[in-house]
Symmetry: C2
Subunit: 111 residues, 2 copies
């Protein structure tokens, strides 16, 4: 059972015995914002990912995977047949990849 991204951060923070104030300072955001992030009430700015990876010694790619899959989950979780959405999404992604390759305007550096 996968937790949400906010819960993940919460776990990391508490296991490291950090207060919201301290971690927020390290991430350069307000502590109230961090609280809202952990509780899923605020968008997570992508810029904090590398800082999180640095502070907690995490694989940045894994973090990004958690981050984006969270956004997708947010979109599909109210749908009954979500796996159908995902299957179709994968086909469409493949299509976009191919058509954009033809036009030579894609960048896999951050993939």
């Amino acid at each position: 059972m996968k937790e949400t991204f906010g819960e993940y951060i919460h776990k990391l923070r508490t296991e490291a015995s950090l207060t919201l104030t301290k971690l927020a300072a390290a991430l350069d955001i307000d502590q109230s914002t961090l609280s809202k992030i952990e509780n899923g009430k605020r968008n997570i700015p992508e810029e904090i990912l590398p800082k999180l990876a640095d502070i907690f010694n995490l694989d940045i790619n894994q973090l990004e995977k958690e981050y984006f899959s969270e956004k997708i989950a947010e979109m599909i979780y109210p749908k009954e047949n979500s796996s159908e959405f995902l299957k179709l999404a994968e086909q469409k992604a493949e299509y976009k990849r191919l058509t954009n390759l033809k036009q030579g305007k894609i960048d896999f550096k951050n993939a």
Copy 2:
């Protein structure tokens, strides 16, 4: 190979021999907006889905599937290992579903 949602609308429109102006009027949006939608340069307002279903006699559920999977595809298509993102997303969606966590209702005490 699945087309984009914009291309799908374009196909529907041209097969019905409708101009941008006419269809846009029926959808109650500007024709320049419809042009951008067909060309993937503008977000697609969810409100047009029922109108599209009505005009072209389509299954609204299928339309919604196309609509949301398009949004997901937009997010993941630059990622190389997109299927991993989707697998994780499905787990997270399941988690959200089970714990019934709507935005702003996370309670770690009971988590």
